[in-house]
C-alpha cells in the first residue's frame, strides 16, 4: 500500500477485480444498475441495533476500502483503489418494517413487502452524500415476527465468500471482538512475459472449444434494462436430507457442485425446448475460490477464478449423464490448472479500458457472456450462529443479474437446509417458463415431480 498524499492511500486491485470492474461498467452503460448483490441472513428476532451502529462505524474505520474509489494510473493505466486513511462515517444502516409487523423497530420506515424493498435497494447506488460506500446493511422487521438483515455489496470490492466473511466480521464487532481478519491474500507467482503467454494457453484453448458450442442465453445477447426478480425456495430439513443422499449417489459425496451445474443446465434447456430451440449446448461459468479454505480472510477483492463448463446436447438427456459429464470436466479443468490459466488471461487484459475488456469477453460468444449464471456455494457462513444478539435461522445470496445472460439458478445450504435461488431479469423469463424451469429443477433434485415445492 503506497501513500499518495496525507489523507489517501493507494491499494492495488487484484486480477479478477478487473473483470468485475468491466462488468460493473457494462451494467452502468447499458442502464442495468450496478453490479450489486445481496447476502441475506434471516433472524429469529430483531438484532440489537444499539450494538450494530457502533460496529458499522468501527467496520469502516478498520476497513477503509469500504469507502474506496476506483481510479486508473495515468502512466500504467492499471486500476487501483484510492482509499481515505481516516474515514469518518459508518456503513449505512437502513431500518424497515413490513406492513403488518409488530412495529418494534420504531425508527423504521414502513414497506409493503420485504422482497420488493430488497430488489429496490439493489438497483440503487450505494453512494451516500458523496461517499463511495461499497456496501450497506438493511434490517427488515417481518410481519411474521422474524427479521432479516440484508448486506448489499458491490462486486467491485468483494465476492460472495467475502460477503459472508464481512457479515461474520460485523457480527464479531457487535460482540466487541476486534481482531485482525484480513491479513492474508493468495500469493501469485512472478512470471516472465513468455511464461505468462505459455500459461494462458490452457484457458485460450478451452474458450476456443467452447466458442464452437456457443453460449446461448434466454435473454439473448442484447442488454435489457428490466427489473430484477428473485425467488428463493428453502427446502425442509427432510427434503434437504433426501436431496443430499441423491446428490451423493450421483456426484459422489465430495463433488456436489457437479450435480448442481448439471441441474441448472437441464432446467435452462427445458425452457429453450419449450421455446422450440435446440441448441448444440450451453456454456456456464462457475466461480471458484482462490482463497485458501478455512481462512478468515481476505475479506476484500474478488478472490476467484472461473471454470467454464460446457453442457452439450448429448450429455443433457438425463441428470445422471449430465452430472457425469460435469464431473469429468471438473477433474480435467482442475488437473489442467484452468483456474490459474484463466487468471493469467485476465492479468494480461488488466490495462484494457472497461468497454474494450467487455468487448473481448463477449466477442468469443457473439455478444453473449455465458448461457446463465450459476453457483453452488455450499454452507453459508457456517461459523456464524448469531448476529447482533439474534439467532440466524437461514441465509442465502440474491446475486446481481445482468443481461446477457439474464437468468441464474443458485444453490447454497444453511444448517442442513438447501436454498434454491432463481433470478431473472424482467422480460427474460415468462411466468410459464419460470414454472417450467422450477419443475425441471425439482424433478432433477428429487427424481420425481414436486409441484408442492413450486410457488
Amino acid at each position: 500500500m503506497a501513500t499518495a498524499d496525507s489523507g489517501v492511500t493507494r491499494v492495488p486491485v487484484r486480477v479478477a477485480d478487473c473483470f468485475l470492474l468491466a462488468h460493473d461498467d457494462f451494467m452502468r452503460r447499458t442502464r442495468q444498475g450496478r453490479h450489486i448483490t445481496q447476502s441475506i441472513i434471516e433472524l429469529d428476532r430483531l438484532p440489537d441495533v444499539a450494538r450494530l451502529r457502533p460496529a458499522l462505524a468501527r467496520l469502516v474505520k478498520k476497513h477503509p476500502l469500504l469507502v474506496g474509489r476506483l481510479r486508473r494510473d495515468w502512466k500504467t493505466w492499471l486500476p487501483y483503489w484510492e482509499v481515505p486513511t481516516a474515514p469518518d462515517r459508518g456503513l449505512p444502516l437502513g431500518l424497515w418494517r413490513e406492513r403488518g409487523s409488530a412495529g418494534v423497530l420504531t425508527e423504521a420506515t414502513e414497506v409493503a413487502k420485504t422482497m420488493e424493498l430488497l430488489q429496490d435497494i439493489m438497483t440503487q447506488p450505494l453512494e451516500v452524500e458523496g461517499i463511495h460506500f461499497k456496501a450497506r446493511l438493511d434490517i427488515v422487521e417481518g410481519r411474521d415476527g422474524g427479521c432479516c438483515a440484508a448486506l448489499s455489496w458491490s462486486h467491485l470490492l468483494i465476492d460472495g465468500k467475502g460477503a459472508e466473511l464481512l457479515l461474520a466480521e460485523i457480527g464479531r464487532l457487535c460482540d466487541g471482538v476486534d481482531e485482525p481478519c484480513d491479513v492474508k491474500e493468495p500469493v501469485r507467482p512472478e512470471m516472465t512475459f513468455q511464461e505468462k503467454i505459455k500459461k494462458t494457453k490452457a484457458a485460450v484453448y478451452r474458450l476456443e472449444d467452447l466458442a464452437k458450442i456457443g453460449a446461448p442465453s434466454l435473454a439473448g445477447p442484447r442488454p435489457r434494462r428490466g427489473r430484477g426478480h428473485y425467488q428463493v425456495i428453502t427446502l425442509s430439513a427432510e427434503d434437504s436430507a433426501k436431496l443430499n443422499a441423491r446428490v451423493e449417489g450421483m456426484a459422489g459425496a465430495l463433488f456436489p457442485m457437479t450435480f448442481y451445474v448439471a441441474c441448472a443446465a437441464r432446467a435452462h434447456d427445458r425452457v429453450f425446448q419449450h421455446r422450440g430451440k435446440q441448441h448444440k449446448g450451453y456454456v456456464v461459468s462457475v466461480p471458484v475460490q482462490t482463497r485458501k479454505r478455512g481462512a478468515r480472510g481476505p475479506l476484500f477483492h474478488n478472490q476467484v477464478s472461473i471454470f467454464f463448463f460446457s453442457a452439450v446436447r448429448e450429455a443433457l438427456g438425463t441428470i445422471e449423464a449430465a452430472t457425469a459429464a460435469m464431473k469429468q470436466q471438473f477433474a480435467e479443468m482442475t488437473r489442467g490448472r484452468l483456474d490459474e490459466s484463466f487468471l493469467v488471461v485476465l492479468e494480461m487484459m488488466m490495462r484494457l479500458p472497461s468497454w474494450m475488456f467487455m468487448k473481448v469477453v463477449r466477442w468469443q460468444f457473439k455478444g453473449e457472456m455465458c448461457s446463465f449464471f450459476h453457483s453452488h456455494t455450499g454452507a453459508f457462513a457456517p461459523e456464524m450462529i448469531e448476529f447482533a444478539g439474534a439467532k440466524i435461522t437461514n441465509a442465502y445470496h440474491l446475486p446481481c443479474l445482468a443481461t446477457p445472460p439474464g437468468t441464474g439458478l443458485f444453490f447454497c445450504e444453511r444448517e442442513g437446509q438447501v436454498n434454491i435461488t432463481l433470478t431473472w431479469r424482467e422480460g427474460c423469463l415468462s411466468d410459464e417458463e419460470r414454472r417450467l424451469m422450477l419443475e425441471q429443477t425439482m424433478e432433477d433434485l428429487f427424481g420425481e415431480p414436486r409441484p408442492d415445492l413450486i410457488p
Binding site: 492474508k184 459422489g252 459425496a253 465430495l254 463433488f255 471458484v288 475460490q289 482463497r291 485458501k292 479454505r293
Partner: protein, 90 residues
C-alpha cells in the same frame, strides 16, 4: 512429472499434513494427521486439488468408490487410502 515412492504411513502423514497446510487449507496451529479436514475448510474444489496433488506426487489415483466423506475426514485416513493402493495390508 516424476513421482516419489510412497513412504511409510507416519512419514506419508507428515508429508500430507505439510502439503495440505501449504497448498490447500489455512490450517490452525496444532493441525495434525487427526485434525478434521472439513472443520479446516475442505470443500469440493480443495478435495479435487488434493486428489490431483496426490496423483502428481505419488502416482496414485484413488478410485471413485473410495472418495467418501469419511475417507477424507483426516489426513491419516487419506494416507491410509494411498498406502492401501500399493500394499493392501498396509
Amino acid at each position: 512429472m516424476a513421482t516419489q515412492p510412497i513412504p511409510q504411513q507416519g512419514t506419508l502423514e507428515q508429508q500430507l499434513v505439510q502439503l495440505v497446510s501449504e497448498r490447500l487449507l489455512e490450517t490452525q496451529p496444532g493441525f495434525n494427521a487427526d485434525s478434521n479436514l472439513y472443520d479446516s475448510g475442505l470443500d469440493s474444489m480443495a478435495i479435487m486439488q488434493f486428489l490431483i496433488l496426490i496423483e502428481e506426487e505419488y502416482g496414485v489415483a484413488l478410485p471413485e468408490g473410495e472418495l467418501t466423506r469419511q475417507n477424507f475426514s483426516t489426513v491419516r485416513s487419506v494416507a491410509g487410502l494411498v498406502r492401501a493402493r500399493i500394499s493392501p495390508s498396509a
